[in-house]
């Protein structure tokens, strides 16, 4: 049974993190997920949250209202967007006065938010909605011998009170998916550490320190690589790895891939289609089949 979702791309994925989008569009249709591109989606507002909460609420509510207009559930691959939209929904449901105010603002575009939207991220879409069994069915080239670590990031796990795709203290869904792909997920003490992205704008050195420290720890534990599920985390670990290495005075050489990229490789899709050459980190070290 095909599942339909409005794809909410956010800002970072379509402008910089193309590999994520490429791998999503290659793999999900195989799992009978139809992604609808909706006109009018804008920024979710999360980057402004610390400066103007009303703006963030308005922007998120606007996107929810657009999805409502099209009667679609939302698939949100970016963890920051996922938190913004979920939190906005939580606030509006609990605070009728705010809901009214926001709807007043949305009225200018003939939009309205009245019903809760079902919002999923890559993790729960794959693990809960599609299911491990179905993923296993499609594995043609199991990733045997791949000792890889999962990075969940923060926005996808907290705050737990509003409901997040995985447990905030001991998340295991990415590991379950990796096992289904035949890989060997490795547990490590720094698993729940942040990538540093939210600090990038105001405290870039602190941001890169966090990125560098985590990569350094992974490197020291002889783990082959890192898997992530958010364009911001990937931007830090993959895109800023060299700079992070300079910040923590370490030579970093850790392959970083999107979960959906690994999914594609296991499904037998070519590396080019999955955007693997767009990764700035040395993914060739993983010696993935189909990759150069």
């Amino acid at each position: 049974m095909k599942k339909k979702y409005a794809l909410f791309p956010g800002c970072l994925m379509p402008t910089e993190q193309y590999a994520y989008e490429l791998s999503i569009r290659e793999t999900l249709p195989l799992l009978e997920v139809e992604l609808i591109d909706v006109e009018g989606f804008s920024c979710c507002g999360e980057p402004m949250k610390s400066v103007n909460q009303l703006l963030t609420l308005y922007l998120s509510a606007r996107n929810l209202a657009i999805a409502q207009k099209h009667h679609l559930d939302m698939f949100v691959p970016c963890a920051m967007c996922h938190l913004a939209l979920t939190e906005c929904q939580h606030v509006l449901e609990k605070n009728p006065a705010m809901k009214e105010r926001i709807n007043g603002m949305l009225a200018a575009e003939d939009l309205t938010y009245t019903e809760k939207r079902h919002i999923v991220h890559t993790i729960d879409l794959l693990h809960d909605e599609i299911g491990i069994e179905k993923i296993k069915e499609h594995v043609k080239k199991p990733l045997h011998g791949l000792k890889i670590a999962a990075h969940y990031g923060c926005h996808i796990l907290r705050p737990s009170e509003i409901g997040r795709p995985d447990d905030s203290e001991n998340p295991q869904k990415i590991e379950a998916i990796l096992e289904a792909l035949g890989a060997e997920p490795i547990n490590y003490p720094q698993k729940l550490d942040c990538c540093g992205a939210p600090l990038l704008a105001n405290l870039p050195e602190s941001a890169l320190t966090k990125t560098g420290q985590k990569l350094q720890a992974i490197q020291e534990q002889q783990i082959q690589g890192l898997v992530d599920v958010c364009p911001w985390c990937h931007k830090m670990f993959d895109g800023r790895q060299t700079k992070a290495g300079e910040t923590v005075a370490a030579k970093l050489d850790v392959p970083v891939v999107y979960l959906t990229q690994l999914l594609g490789v296991a499904f037998g899709i070519s590396a080019e289609k999955l955007g693997l050459e767009l990764n700035l980190s040395p993914v060739e070290k993983l010696q993935l089949e189909g990759a150069k």
Binding site: E169, N170, P189, Q190, L192
Partner: protein
């Protein structure tokens, strides 16, 4: 011709402010059946009581109406006062013109009108009240104490010293409970065993105490003054009359040191034949039926080594469980507590590192009779730790786990800091991460200051996780007293877990019809006025099964429960409240619905007569059967439908 007296209370200004009591009194005095109406400021006081008594005598009253606060406050008092004056105590009707009138309304005129209706209906009820007589029940002067920890032990000794026979039931092979697992007790640092074992010995040897160890309660029937208790004595597979406690069987046991020891909180091992701890009372061995090879598989090598080793021939694999019955007049429940399993709070690393332990486990390490003979060694490598960190409130005061404070956590941690410092000297760094330091009791503050002075690093904050690194453990903590973020690298972490009700508390409560409070502990009848009573007459609670507390408060409560139980046991007869259900035998069809509905098991069906019967001692007057009876045969004495409908008519 009935002669009713109406007494209107001002309740200070609680009633008088919103109800015109003079007008009300005047109105009442003209009601049908009322010969006199009086008003006074505090009817519940000595003066008010005397007023009622004197008025009864002067006007030869045969019924009394009190218009005052809720009957929940003083109904019992007013009944006694009326009785003293010569009126049957059940011909007293209380009209609540405070909570249901004065306190609920602000318009004085309307409130007074309402009060008039209320009093009028109360008078009409008073006119129809029957002069009931309480029935009497003989009291068995023996007590049942459930639980052989320090609470149960203290209660048993107090009652036994009072001269009553006590049956003490303990489900473990030995009495002593959690206190026996402790090394020292705060704040005096008395050796726990030293102060406990004399009491344990006394309990075993007291003429008035029957100790039923390794036994469980299977059923309790009856009511206050007359309970019938069935107890299952579990088989030890050791003849206690022959066993001398020498220990040869345990030394010989094929499974020696292969089974996790519960007493040592999983830090040590025992065999299938074992003594729970060296000072156990009774000092008799027991064979673990779930692990013993002979009992589970039918054979143990060539032959069971324990049987071979025992010089007294005390091993008896043919022992069976035995159900015994005892009759008692009062019951005290002292079943104690369990600690929370920290596995639930994954982030503190209890599951991921062997060096993360609970305070109870640390207590066993400290104890010289423990698995390491009192040496403090890291479970991971059996080396002395160079740094130990205590984290308080694991699971306590936590919205997602136990919302309550465990009360003993702070003092336990401080005590262990002191003992560690004593054992390891200055070679160990000791850190304490706390929320609030609660050192509330006598001598506690002094103890806290002493421990602070022992080079203890005190951090006020809550670490979000204990990270298991290769060689040690890492903790990040933000200290709110210095506003600094600290990183602690430590060899051992001791978690102070929440104190919880026993895992089977809910099931056990059902056996005795006990109520549980929201947190799962047994509910006391009133936290201030009746802290050891329960809602079931004749059953009392003491110790941590009621709420977390330290040993001092446990012992006080245990003595209090004994005192309360003694007030029942020292009487030859008890009066039973007559405000209960009765059966109209002519109307009863014997359908049996009331029997199913009764939560107190007070209803039975007389098969021969095919009508229902009420056990006066058990009936609590809840009214369930009254509502359920399809034939109007179930009647609540002095609360009949006719009486209540008359009251409604009067109000309308």
């Amino acid at each position: 011709m009935r002669r009713i007296g109406v007494f209107i209370c001002h309740c200070g200004i609680n009633i008088a402010q919103n109800v015109d009591v003079k007008a009300l009194t005047d109105y009442a005095s003209h009601l049908n059946g009322v010969v006199v109406a009086k008003e006074y400021k505090y009817m519940c006081s000595d003066v008010g009581a005397t007023l009622i008594k004197d008025t009864i005598k002067e006007f030869k009253l045969d019924g009394v109406v009190i218009a005052s606060c809720s009957p929940r406050m003083h109904e019992h008092t007013f009944r006694r006062v009326a009785n003293d004056g010569g009126v049957n105590p059940y011909r007293v009707e209380i009209s609540n013109i405070r909570e249901q009138c004065s306190w609920a309304h602000s318009n004085k005129e309307q409130a007074t009108e309402k009060a008039k209706y209320l009093v009028r209906s109360a008078v009409s009820k008073a006119l129809s009240l029957e002069p009931l007589k309480p029935s009497k029940l003989k009291v068995i002067p023996e007590a049942l104490v459930i639980g052989g920890g320090i609470a149960g032990i203290q209660t048993s000794l107090d009652l036994a010293d009072d001269g009553f026979k006590v049956h003490l039931v303990e489900r473990d092979p030995s009495v002593g409970g959690h206190m026996a697992q402790l090394d020292k007790t705060f704040p005096t640092l008395d050796c726990s065993s030293c102060i406990l074992t004399p009491k344990m010995m006394e309990v075993a040897n007291h003429d008035n105490i029957e100790l039923l160890s390794y036994s469980e309660i299977t059923s309790i029937e009856g009511s206050i003054g007359n309970y019938t208790v069935k107890i299952r004595k579990k088989p030890r597979y050791v003849d206690v009359d022959k066993c001398t406690g020498c220990g040869d069987c345990a030394t010989a046991c094929r499974l020696k040191d292969r089974i996790v020891s519960e007493f040592n909180q999983g830090m040590g091992k025992r065999g299938a034949a074992y003594m729970p701890f060296p000072q156990a009372v009774p000092l008799k061995y027991v064979i673990d039926a779930k692990k013993c090879l002979f009992l589970t598989k039918g054979k143990c090598g060539e032959e069971p080594l324990c049987k071979k080793a025992c010089a007294q021939d005390a091993i008896n694999f043919n022992q069976k469980e035995e159900i015994v019955e005892r009759k008692v007049g009062a019951i005290v429940v002292a079943t104690g507590y369990d600690i929370m399993d920290p596995t639930i709070v994954y982030e503190y690393g209890y599951d991921t590192s062997p060096d993360v332990i609970t305070t109870l486990e640390m207590e066993r390490l400290i104890s010289s009779s423990g698995p390491t003979k009192g040496e403090i060694l890291r479970p991971s490598n059996q080396q002395k730790p160079k740094s130990v960190t205590f984290i308080l409130c694991i699971g306590s005061r936590d919205e997602t786990q136990c919302t309550w404070c465990c009360r003993i956590g702070c003092m336990t941690a401080l005590k262990q800091v002191y003992l560690l410092r004593e054992k390891l000297g200055e070679d160990v760094e000791i850190n304490v991460c706390y929320n609030d330091l609660r050192s509330f009791g006598k001598g506690y503050e002094e103890f806290y200051r002493k421990v602070r002075g022992l080079h203890t690093n005190m951090f006020r904050g809550r670490p979000s996780e204990v990270r298991t690194m290769k060689e040690n453990l890492k903790i990040d903590i933000f200290d709110t007293t210095t506003n600094k973020l600290f990183e602690i690298k430590t060899d051992m972490v001791v978690l102070v877990p929440a104190m919880m009700p026993r895992t089977d508390a809910t099931e056990f409560a059902r056996l005795l019809h006990l109520t549980l409070s929201g947190d799962g502990f047994f509910l006391e009848a009133h936290p201030k006025l009746r802290p050891v009573d329960t809602f079931v007459n004749g059953i009392f609670i003491a110790g941590c099964c009621q709420a977390p507390k330290d040993i001092q408060d446990t012992v006080s409560q245990a003595s209090a429960a004994a005192s309360r139980a003694a007030t029942i046991l020292s009487q030859e007869e008890l009066e039973i409240d007559p405000l209960i259900a009765m059966v109209d035998e002519d109307a009863c069809t014997g359908c049996g619905i009331c029997v199913e509905v009764c939560p107190y098991e007070a209803r039975t069906l007389n098969e021969r007569k095919r009508i229902a019967e009420v056990n006066d001692a058990l009936c609590a007057g809840c009214g369930g059967c009254i509502a359920a009876c399809p034939s109007n045969a179930s009647i609540h004495k002095n609360f009949t439908k006719k009486q209540l409908l008359n009251m409604v008519d009067d109000i309308m």
